[in-house]
Symmetry: C2
Subunit: 482 residues, 2 copies
């Protein structure tokens, strides 16, 4: 029996202490997590690889990314300017009423419930971006381990708890919980929970979003629910490098058996190049071996989605395996006319795996109609010559409305962890387009502003003290300064 | 018949143009609105006063505040750093994969539906903080006029539309609509609406919040739903100036007939001073004449709320008028023991008007229990000597969790419009504690981040161009610079 009240009360106690902990101590704590993970990598890598069917090379890279991510947040909280400190000085002489002293900064929002992703057993799971950015903000985390990699999750969880202890912080700062949907629901509903982070399917994310909004006190839900990440190809650019672009597309499509939230599941191709481009893609795909998916349930869902689409007469199958597989994903590619694609939303539903629909369009006007019809996406990519982009101003304006990140080169897979990353787009790709789950700004999800009016200097948090002891960037009487 | 599709399609067309409009043009447009309002003030002030029952002096002040607010947002968009521009430069030499060029900033979220407040016919209505911050962010506004001041709303609406025209901007930028709850619902449900701003009752705000979350595409709702704004008095401080503090409290309580969202409807008083303080408050209240409320419906609701409370035996009525009034609010004050207050949430429900409950507490421990029981508030005020505050660290920590602004001097009414203001607290005081509806940061509610990956320099928005033509503060490769 899980005692939810115990878990959340302990988290809340930890929170009231931790939210006031200095950036320096928080940074050291985060670095301790990173170093605990690195110390166990010889055990972690084979374990995560075994549980996820992802090759050790990929998991090694993911571990590096996880550690890098932790260090980025350590750097951010140590530096401190993320707190958005703002000071408006008093003016006792102002008429008709004196002006008070007002100081504002971001404070941690409270205990956060995190649901990890199956497709990133490290970087978006137990010590992944959501957990680490919540801890960095000053929030305790109640983490529900993903059943697809239970041992990896437990091990990483123990490394976080070890870091909590080594840093002399309260144990309620991190709790690892195992369980099914019912357990997840109890976590979302608990009155002490103050925010939710989730990475996974639309169905799962939307259910959590709805549940959180039905609470007596609704709370923010940051659900990253996937996307088909359209690639739009313009005639001249595609014509100038059909084979190269086909290769880029095919390798992005099949990377990690297509199990990325930024996997390109939709590509718009001008009719004039349709045949040569699809031939080139087919050639690439044929050379890529079917790769095992994360688990049988995901492989089953992949083939079921394909079966559903196979009943659609509008689709012409350019490449599809005759047999399904219990675990491996055979890449697949289907083609559709723009006019047919426009008629049915089913053709832009995500199929998790290495499948894409190629939409053949006839001209700029049809492309505009496609853009207008697109649902919210994490990413949209447009491949065009400069002169073509110049003539596509209206198209680009509409595409910007449909995504969180727009690419003009390369492929959407491979999400940079940095300051400028935006990994979060309009609904249904995420439940909150105002946030990112990757990169420096992910920390902002777990904070809210608070203002202190006429608080005596000695009680003010360091970030707001007159002397600026943290030496952070602040807005003072409307001016940015250090 | 209102043609909602027409209204929203026109707004969307305006949006696609306006979101790319320069800060300079937006600033001039906002200043044009301000100057149109100032030009009509001799007409506006008596009209708003007549429709709201608020004295002309108060409306004159509110007009000044409205204009000041508009000029603040003009200054913010003209300066431009609010866009949070972030640049991570490419590194083509990086291994194993080259690093792309990534640039991120805030872009306008889309057409916004604004519901004005009855208690601020100017500053939180047609050209109030919500409308102006949405326009400043680059969003068209569909404004539903408040039925309590229809002529004022229409006149201000026409002044905004005039400014749109004078600035050569598309007319869909601002639409004024009149109607009841059904009209409001249609506006919230329209698929083109991308955010809602609301100021009013909990019931109204929560209904809008729920409706917006039930849409196929849920959208952000910024509902400011009121608060009881507790004042906590500590023994020594209160004892040192009983009459002065009673005067401050009574005047804040009765200001504008108590019709402020920051009106203090709850005050915690230590038992030792209970008698002298309540006598002093009574004396003050008796000298304050009953003032007309905004309209009869509000006066009726005020007296009905009092009647409901009168059935509660735990309350002792210190001051209450024998007769009710069709329009005027007679101030009222009731007293309750902390132990009784703790047992029933009814005693912290907002009564809109000049009524407060005085909670008599016995010591620090009881005060802590009260703090823990408090719902989310816009503001909490604590009056204590430095030495008392020093001993109240735990109390203050808990109070911070319950509000958006905490005051150590003065009264919660009188909300500064500046950079450091936070007017938005935990639920149920607002639907989104991460936002403020007053002050510079209100603009952030109507924007979302977007990242441009490898966008050719010439297509980049000015805010993200390498040469920084706007001369704004940006984060470049992790460093703040201009």
């Amino acid at each position: 029996m899980i005692n939810y009240d115990d878990i959340f009360n302990t988290a809340q106690d930890a929170f009231l202490h931790f939210k006031k902990t200095s950036g320096k101590i928080k940074a050291n704590f985060l670095r301790q997590i990173a170093s605990n993970i690195e110390a166990e990598k010889d055990k972690l890598i084979p374990l995560a690889s075994d549980e996820s069917n992802l090759p050790e090379g990929r998991i090694t890279g993911e571990l590096g990314r996880t550690v890098g991510q932790i260090k980025l947040f350590a750097q951010i909280v140590e530096e401190g300017s993320w707190l958005e400190a703002v000071i408006d000085h008093a003016d006792p002489e102002r008429t008709p009423a004196p002006k008070p002293d007002l100081r504002r900064f971001l404070t941690a929002i409270g205990p956060v419930v995190v649901f990890g992703a199956s497709n990133f057993p490290l970087a978006f799971s137990t010590a992944g971006g959501d957990t680490i950015s919540a801890l960095a903000a000053g929030c305790p985390v109640i983490y529900k381990g993903h059943p697809a990699h239970p041992k990896t999750s437990l091990l990483v969880g123990s490394l976080i708890s070890k870091a909590v202890q080594e840093s002399g912080l309260p144990s309620g700062l991190f709790t690892h919980i195992e369980g099914g949907i019912d357990v997840g629901q109890e976590l979302v509903k608990h009155p002490i929970a103050k925010a939710i982070a989730f990475t996974g399917s639309f169905k799962g994310g939307k259910a959590i979003f709805d549940l959180a909004n039905q609470r007596t006190e609704p709370i923010p839900v940051y659900a990253e629910m996937g996307s088909v990440n359209p690639i739009i190809t313009l005639e001249n650019k595609l014509g100038s490098d059909i084979e190269g672009l086909a290769k880029s597309f095919a390798s992005s499509l099949t990377l990690g058996a297509g199990q990325f939230c930024t996997n390109p599941g939709l590509i718009m191709v001008p009719q004039v190049h349709e045949k040569t481009f699809s031939d080139a893609v087919k050639k690439e795909i044929q050379e890529i071996a079917a790769a095992p998916m994360l688990h049988e349930g995901i492989a089953k869902a992949y083939y079921e989605s394909l079966d559903k689409l196979k009943s659609k007469e509008e689709l012409e199958w350019l490449h599809v395996s005759a047999t399904t597989d219990l675990i491996k994903a055979h890449p697949a590619l289907a083609k559709i006319k723009a006019i047919d694609w426009l008629r049915d939303d089913l053709f832009q539903e995500e199929v998790f795996g290495s499948f894409a629909i190629m939409v053949v369009y006839e001209g700029a006007e049809e492309l505009l109609s496609i853009a207008q019809k697109l649902h919210g996406q994490l990413t949209i990519t447009i491949w065009g010559e400069d002169s073509e982009l110049e003539q596509s101003a209206e198209l680009i304006t509409i595409l910007e409305e449909k995504c969180g990140r727009i690419l003009f080169k390369g492929v959407p897979t491979g999400v940079e962890v940095g300051f400028a990353m935006q990994h979060g787009g309009p609904f249904p790709s995420t439940s909150d387009s105002r946030s990112t789950s990757v990169g420096a700004y992910a920390i902002k999800r777990f904070a809210r502003p608070i203002a202190f009016q006429d608080m005596p200097e000695k009680f003010l948090p360091d970030a707001l003290k007159e002397s600026n002891p943290l030496e952070i960037w602040r807005t003072v009487d409307g001016e940015f300064k250090k």
